[in-house]
Symmetry: D2
């Protein structure tokens, strides 16, 4: 199918490439033009503006945060005013539930469709088209865009017709992962201070009990204290936890683990760890228990 793609960062770029590989026709736009040109040499058409990327009536976006998405949608020459009536906006970004709701309402008022389609997976998963895509929006729009939604991942989950539901789902998922990091961090600090090797503990718990690759992978990073290079920076982790807490507040559902992770990530930033991998929240736990790293 034909669609535009806006936002060619560490996640967006490989997602766009996989759309091309799957035979789709892309008009790409990126604020830093060089990244768009690289895609053009792989077969995409260069869009000179976000508006130009909306040309086909379908546009996917993958941006860093609420502010970027808000500007792109509502700003001058933004998607809302550029997309045709009946057009579809697919938003892959991890954004707040409240912004998703505002965007959904605005598109509806403009006679357009909005699909919130956040993704699970790190850049490596994006490259391998192994993302898990959680989509919510009008069934008719999702069906029309299914080929594109399926081209970027290994699994497409359709949640229903209310876009913010997909964002809540994504945030709840990130919260589970953050909780795992924090609880690994706390348990490893206990073990280290008790003279027990965390690597053995991890091997047993992840290998025979949790049997989970994500436990194993993150556990190895933490046991080996390999927080650089960052797969996902701690300061971005804080952003996500902030969005979880905002969603929790909207829903009047207290999430005390999220609150304490937020405080620990904040402490990490205060101690200079903002650019480490967010699993360095385990280092915050170690420092609090008097360990030096």
């Amino acid at each position: 199918m034909e669609l535009g793609f806006i936002g060619l960062g560490g996640m967006g770029e490989p997602m766009a490439r996989n759309l091309l590989k799957a035979g789709h026709s892309l008009r790409v736009y990126n604020r830093t033009r060089a990244r768009a040109e690289a895609l053009a040499s792989a077969g995409a058409t260069l869009a000179e503006s976000p508006a130009a990327a909306c040309f086909s009536g379908t546009v996917a976006t993958m941006l860093a945060d609420d502010a970027a998405v808000e500007g792109l949608v509502f700003g001058d020459g933004g998607i809302l005013n550029s997309l045709s009536r009946g057009g579809v906006h697919i938003s892959h970004s991890t954004i707040s539930v409240s912004l998703s709701r505002r965007i959904a309402e605005a598109h509806q008022q403009h006679g357009q469709f909005f699909i919130a389609a956040p993704v699970f997976g790190r850049p490596e998963a994006a490259q391998a088209a192994r993302l898990v895509v959680i989509a919510a929006g009008a069934a008719e729009a999702i069906e029309r865009c299914r080929p594109a939604l399926e081209a970027i991942g290994r699994k497409l989950v359709v949640l229903g017709s209310d876009p913010p539901a997909a964002n809540t789902f994504k945030l709840a998922g990130n919260f589970l992962i953050a909780s795992m990091l924090e609880s690994l961090g706390e348990s490893f600090a206990l073990l280290r201070k008790s003279g027990v090797d965390p690597a053995t503990f991890l091997e047993v718990m992840a290998g025979t009990f949790f049997q989970s690759p994500i436990y194993e992978n993150y556990g190895k990073i933490i046991a080996g204290q390999r927080y650089e290079p960052a797969g996902f920076k701690l300061r971005l982790g804080l952003k996500d936890v902030r969005l979880v807490l905002a969603a929790a507040e909207d829903a009047s559902a207290p999430m005390p683990i999220a609150s304490l992770i937020r405080d620990n990530l904040l402490s990490g930033i205060a101690q200079g760890m903002g650019d480490l991998d967010w699993s360095a929240v385990a280092r915050v736990a170690a420092l609090k228990s008097g360990l030096k790293s």
Copy 2:
């Protein structure tokens, strides 16, 4: 090999049966005699007292809590005074790190060996000889008892020569599981209040992302709110979290997630959930967010 076995509750009974099945010769003792008699009809010898169960020079114990173990070891006619010099006490109970240390020292002073060998797994796993056994103690003693330690589980992890290390390991493992329950509870409350089906969320997160049977199993209990019958009662969960916190205090390693789980389990007990499965900590999260169950 020949050994005694004291404590034939929900876990101890199937463990003893598996020792018999593996061809070991058992002298069994249980405070409630009927349970020991049942084992006798399966081939065990009935011991009339804890002291009698120590006859062979090797005795395994599986009791409910610190108080029970402390009484059995240090009391009149207890293991310490009944076991021969050079004898081995294998303790499978989930007890505090500090009690494990005291017992280890006492056995050493009596010229005896102490193996702390706590196990992971619910009663079903005990029945199927699928426990994971974490053992620490003098290498010589562990080697001597290896046939018994291997007969009850699918995996034996030997941690080293310091018995309390095994107890710390076990408690840290239980903490990871408790953390998972609490974080599932918080995320499900958010999802329910946001109109997203937790069962779908669970299927995606546990099935394609965490890929972990334990996430899946507990998640299903929570999503379906099937807290009865209890696999492991909430009030026992509180006991374990209390032991985690005591270990954390001994090691000067703060564990804030453990603290908040403790508070939530306490709230569960205050609200009449003490005999539900400990995954009902998720119900505490639901109630706090204004849901009725």
Copy 3:
């Protein structure tokens, strides 16, 4: 002196009256006109618009939240465009540190002065001109407005020239009070469940040890469970704690008590207590401990 006053709610109205009583000349504006007319009959001049209230070159504002203040300052016909060069905007509202900073910068760019002057005290204190006023801004502007700043309270604290500092100060103060409420709530729950009368406890602790009227007053509300009528609604308390947490995030200073109060206030709202006095956070503690109220 001559000044405008915008925002005649439960706090703003008595503040404006006290300015009149002190002999100042006021142009008052309120969105709901009736409240401004009441002031006019007490001697104020009615302003037909926010812009008209800026006429004298000095304007004080007392609004409910960030959104209201942001709209009033930056909106069409807002203060920024209505105030003369060299004019002064005194902001008494409890707003976020980040909005205060944005407003300060905007006024500076327009050649105007900005004084952040949040106040401590409930409506009764406002009526009695017993507020504590925390002011920060250019010394020259504060000196010019000192008569107005002193007319509304019993104490004026001048913090320095950086307006956001006054907002941080105010939020930190509200946090101390919120902490007191939460800790009273937790201790009263413990006492009630232990069969000890909280009123006696309060009398001893507040009377002979803390010797603090604020402990005594709030303690009595909590001991007597008189959460209605609300002096300050729980949902507004949540707003303030949210601002504290935002300030803490800006400053990279984790505030775990603020996080847990936020979660408890949220739970209060989820359980229908949003319109009770914010000291009802103590009822949240009581419910969690299994008490019925």
Copy 4:
């Protein structure tokens, strides 16, 4: 009146002196005999053993912790076996609610009276006979001992006939103070990182708003970071918070602020602050926010 006094540490010694000053006749015992001899030269009779201190049928005790009190009461030659039928044991120590209950029951079984009479106040207050004494026990026993209970403090609060109630009261009071320290610590960290002087904040909040000497005194220690010499050591503060949490667990009343203070005190100990004043919990907050002290 005639009574024995056991435990002449930093608190017990000045309490005993004030009993002498008030004209009471004392038999004193202390494990380290030199401290008892000092009292003897002030008019007390030296008791050669705890049993000897029970001679008159009334004995007051002021010891460091549960273990010491338990040993003194239940041990060989302990109070239980030394006190006459109808005798009275007044326990001033800060001990757990559960130990108080056990002691109360044991004394009753021996036909003796037990008064739990914990005190509020630092050593200076003990010297000045300015303690606040919280007493619970049989009315008849309290009336008999009233002269002694009143001689050591400025206020005697009689709570009723159930001794553990007085211990719960004392622990709840210490919790309020600990909460104040933690919340001052968090707010000061926010202020310091925001460039606002905590001393000014303290002056305003404690002086004009809380109007509380305890806020002022502890606030000054924290603002000035004068954690040495310790008035009350951080590691003893942890002991008290542990007792609060144990009481909370007995009563099934979650106290999340107590939990987080416990974690922070633990972190303080892990970072070498165990012998500083317990207000150094504020330093833990400062370190977490990236400040160096």
